[in-house]
Symmetry: C2
Subunit: 300 residues, 2 copies
């Protein structure tokens, strides 16, 4: 599981930084979270293939989080997409997308399946690879965070042990699911002899944009990585509060309270050219802090 | 009068080329024509200041011509704009912009004055610096070209002659308007003694996107520069026709028929990496052809 940052700036593009967008990659499947202006170009730049994207999550209706969406949706159609695309966003996103498509007389070449975000915490997506829950955060308008949990791929096969016991590879899928092997002569090989525990599935939480709040702490408890917005430095804490944003130190406090293993900061105000101080301030509270850089993929 | 190309590609961004946007600068005032995704970033990159932009023209409702508009409108507000912004576009652009602003609970800090494009050729804008007429072109949906005509700044002052005749500089504005000077003692200095003809005001026509058609030739006759879309090369003339686009040779034919002084090509399909052949093909018909390059300012 890894996160690639496509845009780490807040409302105004500045210093080569773009509005918010990021992808989460799990077993080759890509989930896109937010889609600021220019996301399709950033995807090209950093080698994120639209064919691997089947789920897009939009946190809220401020433009720096979705103005790249109409272009991406359109381009996928022009490039020949036929697979359904699941779009999760605030209910008022759909009529805007519909109006844009209608004005262009565009009929997409693939099904665009819209899912309105529920007001309360809810299971949004459940695929063989991952689940996603949305949860409300506190911003000037309706705004949601996302908790992405990878699913286990089951137990890990020990190929040498399997050979030793003469288990053919077509049984591996059943072994992964924890089943014992029963041979042609009726002999049973216990599962734990030929497999071991698979890796623990990872959890990633995305919290942007939000005021400092403990309201969703119970949902993001123990995540392997927490992305939390940090629009401002501490000297501008009053500005952060007034605009329903957080500071780097506030983000770090949430990471501590949530027992997160790592903290990824983003959504930096265009008033800051140099981002080093974000790391300094946040690390005074939580040492596992990363100041996100566009184009970089962070392993979770 | 000069044109700066911010995006010269068609629907899909490719090879570092962006969707359509360009500016026309006259006496420091900037007119923006079309506003594809990423235009505000391209403006930053090429030093086009939003403060100098008071008029934006959107040719039609295909996304590659306006998906950068909501972001630019928003950014101008965040950056403290208070001066009115005139937006000219198809009538169905306004409800989309309104819905986007409403969903974000955004109230712009400046008046956004919307002007719906009329079905037939009409005077759209008349400022002290320029006039703009719109005219219908032939595309899959309602689509318009624009004719921009600079206004004369009047006669050119000959400062040495003025000094010779003792004319104070506060009279220069009247001299520019062609008036004679009458001194305190009642003596008259003929205007033509102290001024000469000013430069001939330039005309620029923007034609994108359109099928090859002679329907608007009478409007663009004699322009100093013609921008005409050339999505395809001649080998794809059938594709151009089917998709209501033009080839480079067709654009060149329009330049010949319109007696244009120069032809600027753009809106290149993402199927072409190398654009040299566009110049070759068009110049076989019209030698004054320029293949537009992003970031370059072309003097008219």
């Amino acid at each position: 599981m890894r996160v690639t940052i496509l845009g780490n700036n807040s409302a105004l593009p500045a210093f080569g930084r773009h509005p918010t967008a990021q992808t989460v990659t799990m077993y080759g499947e890509v989930v896109l979270i937010d889609c600021g202006e220019g996301t399709q170009i950033q995807m090209q730049r950093y080698g994120i293939k639209w064919k691997n994207v089947n789920h897009i999550f939009i946190s809220h209706m401020h433009g720096d989080h979705y103005f790249g969406l109409p272009g991406l949706i359109n381009s996928m159609s022009l490039l020949g997409r036929t697979a359904p695309l699941n779009l999760y966003g605030p209910a008022n996103l759909k009529p805007i997308i519909d109006a844009i498509l209608q004005a262009a007389n565009t009929e997409l070449k693939y099904p665009l399946v819209f899912h309105a975000l529920p007001a309360e915490t809810e299971l949004l997506a459940d695929t063989p690879t991952f689940t996603v829950h949305s949860f409300p955060v506190v911003h000037g308008i309706d705004c949601y965070g996302f908790l992405i949990e990878m699913k286990t791929r089951g137990r890990r096969i020990l190929p040498e042990k399997c050979m030793e016991h003469g288990i053919p590879s077509e049984y591996f899928e059943q072994l992964k699911q924890g089943k014992d092997y029963v041979g042609a002569a009726g002999e049973t090989i216990k599962n734990e002899l030929v497999t071991e525990d698979g890796p623990t599935p990872k959890k990633y939480a995305y919290c942007s944009d939000t005021l400092f709040t403990e309201s969703f702490l119970h949902i993001i408890q123990g995540v392997d990585m927490l992305y939390h917005e940090s629009t401002y430095l501490e000297a501008d804490a009053d500005k952060a509060a007034a605009r329903y944003h957080s500071t780097a130190i506030q983000a770090a406090k949430i990471a501590v309270l949530a027992n997160a293993k790592q903290l990824l900061l983003g959504h930096f105000s265009s008033k800051y050219k140099d981002l080093e101080i974000f790391a300094e301030e946040a690390m005074s509270v939580f040492s596992g802090t990363i100041v996100s850089v566009e184009g970089v993929a962070y392993d979770i």
